[in-house]
Every structure is written in C-alpha cells, then in structure tokens.
Point group: C2
Chain length 251, copies 2
C-alpha cells in the first residue's frame, strides 16, 4: 500500500458551538464529502472567537495537514474575525479584495452596501475567492486553507464551489454491518478478522436504544476485494453468534 | 473582574465522527452543562482511533486546561484504545481496576464476563472510577482528565455521576435575542453596544431558513445587571431597525 494519503483538518470557529447553544452540522458533511474525494479528515478542532487561539491553531494545523477547512466567523459583525486572523496567521495584510467588492456591489441595491457588509470583501492579500451562490459574500482560499461560512447551507454551497481545487488520493471504500448483539460478544472474533485483514480498518460502534444493545461495524479500505472479503467474514461472525447481519444504511 | 475562569477541553475520540458516519451529540451537551457549573469549554478536538495522536493531544490539552473530558473508545473491542492511551500519556501502567472488575462481576451472569468484557475493567494505575448507571462498565478519572463513553445516553449518565467532583467559577449568564434581520443591518449598532459593554460577550449568529435571513444575538456575562442592560439595548436596536426582538428560546 504505497498510495499517498491526503489529509485534512476542519477548524470550527465559534463560541456558539462551544457553549452548546448551536450544534455543529458541518463536521459530518465535510468528513463524508472529503472521504468521497479521497481526502482523509484526520482531525477537527472547535475554537472560540479569540484571535490568538485561532492564529496559533491555524498555524499548527495548516503545517500538519494537506488541507484545512475553516467554518464560521466571516460575516459582517464585530465578532467575525476569521479573515483578519487568517491574514495574521499567514503574515500578510488584510485587504479589500476587488473581486469580492464587485460581487457585493452587484448583489446589493444601490446604497445598501454599508460599511459592515463591505467587511465581507476583506481577505488576506493573495487569497482567491470561493463562490457563494446562496448569499453572495464569498469565502476564500489562501495556501492550503479554505475559509467558509458557518451556516450549513452556505458552507455546503461553498464546498461545492471549491471542491474542483482539491486533489485526493484513492478514496476509502466503506462497508457497514449492523447487529443486535452487545459488542463484547463480537470482540474476540472481530479481533481475529482485524488480524487477518490489517489493511482494512474495522471500527465497532455500539449503540443503545430502547433498552437494546446493538453494534454497527464499519469496515474501510482502499482495496475493494479485501474489503468485501473482510465484510463477508464479519457477517459470518454475526451469524455464528446467532444474530442477523443487517445493512445499517438501509432505511 | 478578578474571578478565576475555570476552563475545559473536550476530546472526542473516534474515526466514526471524522468519517461523517456518526454525528457527534456529546459536545453540545457538555458545553451547556459545563457552562451551568461555571466551567468554560474553551476548545474541543476530534481525533481518530490512533494511539500516538490521542497521547500527544491529551498531554497537550490536560496541561492547557483545568479539566479535560474525553468521549469514546472505552468499550470491549480492539479499536477501544482510550484507556491504554491515557495510561501511556500519564506514564503509568494500565491495570485491572479491582473495583471495576467487581462491578462487572456483579453485573454479568456467571460465565458471561469474557476476556473482551474484562478489558472494560482496565484503567491507568491511580485512576478513580466514574459510575455508569446505564450499562455498568465504568469510566474513570485520572488527574484532571475524565474518561467517558461515547454513546450519548451513557456519557450523559457518567457526567451526572462525576459532576460533584468539579469546581467551577461564576457561571456565565446568557440572554438571547432573535430578529428577522440580516446581520449586516445590525452590525454598526451591535459594535456600539459591544463597546459600551466590554464585559459582556456579544455573539451574532446568522441563520438562513426558507429564503429568510435572521440572526440570533447571544449575550453572555457574569454580572446579571450589566447583562440585562446590554440585552435591553440590543432589543432597542432591533426595534429601531423596524423588526421585532424575539426570544429564540421560546418554542
């Protein structure tokens, strides 16, 4: 297995997520979409709207991972400090991006492009824009960092706009098996399958619903043949333990 | 404002969250509950089931924050490596905790406490247990690190079991105002309120639903009087802009 693994980190910026008032909806979307592009989401961080924390974190993760995606903090209000922080992290000035300004000018009726809205045209010098088909104010890319809105519908549209810029490796293929069994029944057999298929990542995710313990077994690998073989063994294991292997993605 | 700010970090362990298959449900719960105890959740990290990453991350965050809460990776299967990683991070051996073993022995019918289940009695040496009223297998605390299950119902029950061990500062009080206005209309007025109330943290969180832009303004402070005054000014600002200030928590 000599393929290059392409990695990513998501940086979620916002007090609102940390206070528990808003439940993040972007991480799961990005994890899934990146995986489909052959990019492995290796880490995510949630940080508050504090400039020093954002700058230090961004500088750490942009060096460790191939791609960094940020969400949040690019609106028109005083607490939207992401663009400024990204500029400081890269050591470049924050400028009014002429193309971004033109987009906002074309979008707002005459006289409506106030000072606050104009802040949304500010980017680090050297950034390229990320189109926002929903509400126009663009995101931007600088180096390997992609800066997107926090509102899920806008973030998702921005991701669609930028994804042609990403170069992934081989995507990880996935097979999942669910069983109404406590995970501890499966553990010895699963360990044995894992040992026979070291190139297949086997995750065991218990759940507990209405008094019943069950488990979802998720297998991931680049090689489709080995993945299918390992999943077959897992299904066989579930059957041997007296349960029915089910497809958790069938709804 | 000389009160000590008590800080926390949440460490979410699991490939499943990063792949997007499972949407985390623990962060919002912990952020809210910690805040009510006067503990500020300052950061959250999601890391994969990889020992080196877990160990390095844990050693970083347990030094930076007053409390660290981990979720995930304490079950009976091969991919449950949290206890071992925590032991290695603290530089202590992983032992079978006698009290944890006794709990499992009392819980499972004779002959059912297999090798896999016994793994759930392993803790770093010196750890104290966290009771699990749902499925018995305990979490544990070592130093300022609290290790909990990933299944939300179990994690929540464990948090209830451990919270008397936490010492918070003054809780941040919150007031929220919603308005059907684009955030850019509010921006200049909000900046002015923020300048008059530097001790009140004012967050502006836009939303976009069914073609309508709106915003939730969240004010947080320790001083109830200042918080009420600032929230009054924000409501007045919304009214001046021709909208009706609403209570977003009224449902």
């Amino acid at each position: 297995m000599s393929e290059k693994i392409v990695t990513a980190c998501v940086l979620i910026i916002g007090n609102e997520i940390l206070s528990g008032r808003t439940r993040d909806a972007n991480l799961a979307f990005l994890g899934e979409r990146l995986n489909a592009l052959g990019i492995r989401l290796m880490e995510a961080r949630v940080v508050p709207d504090q400039d020093e924390v954002i700058i230090v974190t961004l500088n750490e993760v942009r060096r460790r991972f191939d791609y960094v995606f940020t969400t949040g903090g690019i609106g028109p209000t005083h607490d939207d400090i992401t663009a400024e922080c990204v500029a400081r992290a890269f050591g470049v000035p924050l400028i009014q991006h002429p193309e971004a300004r033109a987009i906002l000018e074309a979008h707002y009726p005459p006289g409506e492009l106030n000072q606050a809205r104009l802040r949304m045209a500010d980017t680090p010098e050297g950034a390229t824009l990320i189109e926002n088909p929903v509400s126009k104010a663009p995101g931007f890319q600088i180096g390997n960092v992609f800066v997107m809105a926090g509102i899920p519908s806008i973030m998702q549209a921005m991701f669609e706009s930028l994804k042609h810029r990403l170069t992934g490796g081989e995507p990880l293929l996935t097979k999942a098996v669910a069983a109404a069994l406590p995970e501890s029944y499966l553990a010895p057999g699963l360990t044995a399958v894992q040992e026979r298929y070291p190139e297949v990542e086997i995750g065991s995710y218990p759940f507990y619903r209405m008094g019943v313990f069950g488990v979802r077994l998720v297998l991931r690998a680049i090689d489709a043949g080995r993945l299918t073989a390992a999943a077959g063994e897992v299904r066989e294991l579930v059957r041997k333990l007296g349960a029915k292997p089910e497809d958790p993605d069938e709804k």
